[in-house]
């Protein structure tokens, strides 16, 4: 049986950790997304129409929300772990009876909360510019949760693997950032040449954003059920990897 004792206090601690510095961990990424919207929206509004009847600024909002959810979920678990490893206070967790499942739920749970908090913030400040509407709200919730869960898990894996801040930054800048940017946050993949469309379809992040956007507009590049299948499978795979690393105390109990 899975032993989850201690998971809730660790989750609460992880949430408090980012909440105590919310200016940096929540407000700052909301501002960044707002700037993206103002600049790209202003420049491209009259030049690009992705879906019929949907203005570019409206189209952009769900993409920016999802990008913020994903990046902040990743940032939360990864930065918390690497900080604890480097400052040495991970020892306070290592000496406890917390099971791998409890570690996983607490770190990824807190990452999901941070991702959703930032995503809600972005939605709140951008929605006034060009309300995207809500066509199928179930998809919004499902893809926000799964996306945050996957990236929170990625952050956990990266935090366990990285030994230095620059290794973590490399993970973030060379894997997470390109995959989010090339997933159709700023465009529909249908506007790409055939080859790049094919490449985009290999990127699981594409399905997260496409499925999420479906919830707002009722239109998407691929079927939301296909997106759900890809995203859910990805979640199971990365969660299994993370749990395995925790169970073998990868790099944390030498």
């Amino acid at each position: 049986m899975m032993r989850l004792e201690g998971a809730l206090p660790l989750w609460r601690k992880e949430v408090l950790r980012f909440w105590k510095v919310a200016f940096q961990t929540v407000a700052a990424p909301v501002l960044t997304a707002l700037l993206y919207l103002l600049i790209f929206g202003h420049v491209l509004e009259d030049h690009v129409q992705v879906f019929p009847g949907v203005g570019y600024t409206s189209f952009l909002i769900p993409g920016l929300v999802m990008m913020s959810v994903l990046q902040n979920a990743f940032a939360n678990s990864s930065s918390s772990l690497i900080q604890s490893k480097i400052t040495g206070n991970l020892v306070f967790l290592l000496v406890t009876p917390l099971s791998p499942a409890a570690w996983y739920l607490a770190y990824v749970g807190a990452a999901v909360v941070r991702g959703l908090a930032v995503g809600s913030g972005v939605l709140l400040v951008t929605v006034w510019f060009a309300p995207p509407g809500v066509a199928e709200p179930g998809w919004i919730v499902v893809f926000a949760l799964l996306g945050a869960g996957i990236l929170g898990t990625f952050g956990l894996i990266a935090g366990l693997w990285a030994e230095k801040f620059d290794q973590l930054a490399a993970f973030q800048n060379f894997i997470i950032m390109p995959m989010t940017f090339l997933s159709g946050v700023f465009y529909s993949v249908h506007s790409l040449p055939a080859f790049w469309q094919g490449v985009s379809h290999l990127n699981p992040f594409f399905y997260m954003i496409d499925g999420f956007r479906r919830g707002f507009f009722g239109v998407s590049d691929v079927s939301p059920w296909l997106s759900l299948a890809v995203v859910a499978t990805s979640f199971v795979v990365v969660a299994a990897i993370a749990l395995r690393l925790l169970a073998t105390s990868y790099k944390i109990r030498p």
Partner: protein, 312 residues
């Protein structure tokens, strides 16, 4: 009743880019419930590695370790609930206050509504007025006290202190030892590593000495001291000792100590000092202390592991 702490044929090898290092070599040791046990050895002897295996901070390459009968790997949750460890490094989580830190740590062990015990520990460690302070605002000594408190939040029957008084002022040392001695009287088992041998001599009923990953001495403190069986000639001087004496003396600043097995040897030392024109002050003849035993054992002059030395 199982041993409070047991190591059975524990070895630890670190493999790195610069080759392998055998940090522990077939260490077996049992500590009975309620004991106050000292683990001594020079830097790099393997003390912290041994403790880290017990606490689940590192994994043994071979052998097993148990806390209150619970295997530290197979039954890690029960083993860790039975153990409170004060790490050597001064680490803290800068996001939280002292009370938050202790509540969070209690939560990890599944202990709820722990404020009464937290308050008691804070009071015993002289931290009561710091409960609301952020960890970053505390001095080094205060942070050290919080580390001790963190190790005790779940009332573990076995307490491990890894050089808790390194770089700590006299007041904290006294506060700490008063509290730890109380816990020991109440039945807690205490395992202590320290570089302060007078502390070990005063507190620990039994002692193991580690050298290069092996146990080189394991006995009751009184037996170790009795085994030294020699007297020490101590004096202060500003002069240089004659070469024959200098080779045998232990010198700490102005204080020189010379081992003497009998009155004849004392006389010979004094004659050599006189002949060398050495002016001495505060001359005294005393029994060897733990430091003398330690130096003797570490220099390889003597082994002190009784044949059935594993039992308490």
């Amino acid at each position: 009743m199982p041993a409070a702490i047991a190591f059975s044929h524990v070895s630890k090898t670190y493999r790195g880019a610069r080759g392998t290092l055998r940090a522990l070599d077939d260490v077996s040791l049992e500590i009975a419930p309620g004991e106050f046990f000292g683990l001594l050895g020079p830097n790099g002897a393997g003390k912290t590695t041994l403790i880290s295996i017990l606490a689940g901070l590192t994994c043994a390459s071979a052998g097993t370790a148990t806390v209150m009968g619970h295997d530290v790997v197979a039954d890690y949750a029960a083993a860790r609930k039975s153990l409170g460890i004060v790490p050597q490094e001064l680490v803290f989580d800068p996001f939280f206050s002292v009370r938050e830190t202790l509540r969070i740590q209690s939560g990890y062990f599944g202990v709820k509504d722990n404020d009464a015990w937290i308050d008691e520990v804070l009071a015993e460690l002289g931290l009561a007025d710091k409960a609301g302070a952020n960890m970053r605002q505390l001095s080094g000594g205060m942070k050290r006290r919080v580390l001790v408190a963190q190790a005790l939040v779940h009332r573990p029957p076995v307490i491990v202190l890894d050089e808790p008084t390194a770089g700590v002022d006299v007041e904290l040392r006294q506060t700490l030892w008063r509290f730890i001695a109380r816990l020991n009287r109440e039945g807690h088992t205490v395992l202590l590593t320290t570089h302060y041998l007078e502390e070990a001599e005063a507190l620990c009923a039994r002692i193991a000495m580690l050298k290069q990953g092996r146990i080189v001495a394991l006995d009751r403190t009184s037996a170790l001291l009795a085994g030294a069986a020699s007297t020490m000639l101590r004096f202060k001087t500003d002069d240089v000792l004659p070469p024959a004496l200098a080779a045998r003396a232990r010198v700490t600043g102005r204080i020189a100590q010379l081992k003497a097995h009998d009155a004849g040897e004392v006389e010979a030392h004094l004659a050599a000092l006189r002949a060398g024109g050495v002016r001495v002050e505060d001359l005294e003849i005393g029994r060897a202390d733990l430091e003398d035993v330690f130096v003797e054992i570490m220099s390889g002059a003597r082994a002190a592991v009784p044949a059935a030395g594993e039992a308490a």
